[in-house]
């Protein structure tokens, strides 16, 4: 078991009123799984992902990541989990614009306290894994969207995390680049990396081994009726 979410709720405080975003969500993911979470805009997908990624904390309920109670963990523990056990891939890449692809990929290793030489070596390996060995010294502005996302994936896997968390990884990409990213994910999953991916595109979600559906903050294992109609 990588993580276990049990009956969690998440409220945002807006104008002194609690706005409920997540309702009674229960989800556990095992080693080696490839899960897609689908849902329309504003349904709470990113909110859920932030909780799974230990960036945010639930209002109620319990969340254990790799055996650690996240609710009560401090900055040190949380940073360590984010650094060593989770790799993030964002919709808008989130690369540091003034640093080269290689330096961007090295970043998590820097925070892990890896020596400079070793950082170089591992970052190069990760970039080779995503097929960007000839773009190592390019800056993000000199790369295409698909290449940027592959740099981001290299950065996410460089620390050999237990979980790859992707929030709409193909959202900003054309079909061809999106396809490349999907192939990478499938390859990584075959190598044993657990993946949780958020998307609202059914074609992308279908590539995963398990699909969860989120609607107005509630999680379903079956697609809601109107969505089933859409899918035919």
């Amino acid at each position: 078991m990588i993580f276990e979410i049990k009956n969690i709720y998440k409220d945002y405080i807006q104008a002194k009123q609690a706005v409920p975003v997540l309702h009674d969500i229960t989800l556990s993911v095992d080693e080696g799984e490839y899960v897609a979470i689908m849902g329309p805009s504003g349904s709470g997908k990113s909110t859920l992902m932030n909780i799974i990624g230990c960036l945010d904390k639930q209002t109620k309920g319990s969340f254990y990541f790799d055996g650690t109670d996240i609710m009560s963990a401090g900055d040190k523990k949380l940073s360590e989990i984010r650094n060593k056990k989770i790799g993030f891939v964002f919709q808008n890449f989130n690369l540091l614009p003034r640093q080269s692809a290689l330096e961007n990929v090295e970043l998590p290793l820097l925070y892990a306290g890896v020596s400079k030489k070793e950082r170089r070596r591992r970052a190069k390996m990760a970039l080779e894994r995503v097929g960007l060995e000839n773009r190592m010294n390019f800056r993000p502005t000199q790369l295409s969207g698909g290449q940027k996302q592959r740099v981001a994936i290299a950065r996410a896997i460089v620390n050999k995390p237990r979980l790859l968390l992707a929030d709409e990884p193909t959202g900003a990409l054309d079909t061809a680049s999106g396809e490349q990213v999907m192939e990478l994910f499938e390859g990584l999953n075959k190598e044993g990396v657990t993946i949780v991916m958020i998307t609202h595109e059914p074609d992308i979600a279908r590539r995963a081994k398990r699909i969860m559906y989120i609607r107005d903050g509630r999680l379903y294992t079956e697609p809601p009726r109107n969505e089933r109609e859409v899918q035919g």
Partner: protein, 423 residues
């Protein structure tokens, strides 16, 4: 840490104009302080040199009665003072602080000196021992100095200084001429000049007096010839040459103690008389007093310049706050990738410190340039002080850390999701 410094440089250089404007307050403050400190140091060194004479390190030890120098011109020699002999001199030269020592007699002379038909208006006559020229810093620039037998055989020879040589003989060599002192003819055998000539700054009546005294001519005769003109038993004064400037005070005091052993207690009708004693001039202390005076006014200027540093520091804080807001996403991302709060804090603190340190270095360089300009324009001496430079750069770094603290804490406390959602 090195990584942070490297990143800071990159960040600073990617916003050149903004960084420069931010540093401006620091640059101006540090430049002003360096210029002021250099001027203070220059003035102080000048005061010290003027009073002490650069490099000569000589201390005069005079016989005093109460508070004033014993004046031999009008008083009979005090019977308590035993004439100084070579033994006292050897003891003084044996002191650690002392390099050389000389005993001499001196008398101001008005009207009684003639060179041929020319009457010298005023002159000072010195009866000197063989060590005088070396110790007091004279060299023979024409003719020769006294030979051994001049001190013992009453050869009636004299050495004059350049003032008389130029004033009376106007270009012709005075060597071989006769100089008439109190009716006794002396043969001039040489001309002496100060080894290091320095120009004193006249700041008080006392300075004026000292300066002009040097203008009247000096006549040196062997001390054994003194009795022909004045009295044999007249007490001597002493000049010691210290090993270095800092040991001048010690050399003077210790030598005076040795000389004071030559003063015997006598009592007249059972009452203790006020005794004359040897006392060293403490030029170093006088210099210090003058220096303190000039420093205290300039210290005020330093406080004023510090206000510029404060304003500069606030400017740095302002820019750092803007920078934190601008880089909210970057901070969020770094946190998501596993950067701890303290790392974010260190990154921003380093950036502020590097920024102000660069400002400090530029400030130091401009300060040095500024003090050079001041010294050219206002004709005051400047001396660049290395400790001041180190302190200035360290202090500007401190300004960066202090004023960078609030923005850095703000950055470290950013919630990663708010930071990632930020647009």
């Amino acid at each position: 840490m090195i990584e942070n410094i490297r990143l800071s440089f990159r960040g600073i250089f990617s916003h050149k104009i903004r960084s420069l404007l931010t540093m401006l307050g620091i640059i101006i403050g540090i430049a002003a302080i360096i210029a002021i400190v250099s001027t203070i140091k220059g003035t102080n060194e000048q005061i010290k040199n003027n009073l002490i004479g650069s490099g000569s390190n000589t201390v005069k030890i005079n016989l005093v009665m109460g508070d004033s120098t014993y004046d031999f011109g009008y008083e009979t020699p005090p019977q308590e003072v035993v004439p100084l002999d070579d033994k006292s001199r050897e003891k003084i030269v044996a002191l650690d602080e002392v390099e050389d020592c000389t005993f001499y007699r001196t008398r101001e002379n008005f009207m009684n000196v003639f060179c041929g038909p020319t009457q010298l208006e005023s002159s000072i006559i010195y009866g000197i021992d063989p060590h005088y020229f070396d110790t007091a810093g004279y060299m023979i620039c024409e003719g020769k100095g006294f030979a051994k037998n001049d001190f013992t055989d009453f050869t009636k020879t004299a050495v004059i200084d350049k003032t008389i040589a130029d004033g009376v003989f106007s270009g012709e060599s005075p060597v071989g001429s006769i100089i008439d002192i109190n009716g006794e003819p002396f043969t001039i055998i040489g001309v002496a000049a100060k080894v290091s000539e320095f120009e004193p700054v006249i700041e008080s009546v006392d300075d004026y007096y000292t300066y002009n005294q040097a203008e009247s001519g000096l006549i040196f005769i062997p001390t054994d010839d003194w009795g022909m003109l004045f009295r044999y038993d007249e007490p001597q004064n002493c000049i010691v040459k210290a090993k270095d400037t800092d040991s001048m005070t010690g050399a003077g005091k210790k030598s005076a103690d040795i000389l004071n052993k030559n003063i015997v207690k006598t009592s007249v009708n059972g009452e203790n008389k006020v005794l004359p004693k040897y006392k060293s001039e403490n030029l170093l202390e006088q210099a210090k007093n003058l220096q303190d005076l000039s420093s205290s006014t300039n210290n005020m200027l330093i406080w004023i310049a510090s206000i510029s540093l404060l304003v500069g520091g606030i400017g740095v804080m302002n820019i750092m706050l803007v920078s934190v807001t601008e880089r909210t996403r970057e901070i969020g991302l770094k946190k998501a990738l596993g950067a701890r709060k303290r790392r974010i804090l260190a990154q921003f603190l380093t950036e502020a410190a590097v920024l102000t340190s660069i400002g400090g270095v530029i400030g130091v360089l401009s300060g040095i340039g500024l003090s050079k300009v001041i010294s050219k324009m206002a004709d005051v001496p400047v001396a660049i002080s290395t400790p001041a430079i180190i302190i200035a750069v360290a202090f500007s770094m401190l300004v960066g850390i202090v004023f960078g603290l609030i923005p850095s804490v703000k950055a470290a406390r950013l919630d990663p999701i708010d930071a990632l959602r930020y647009e």
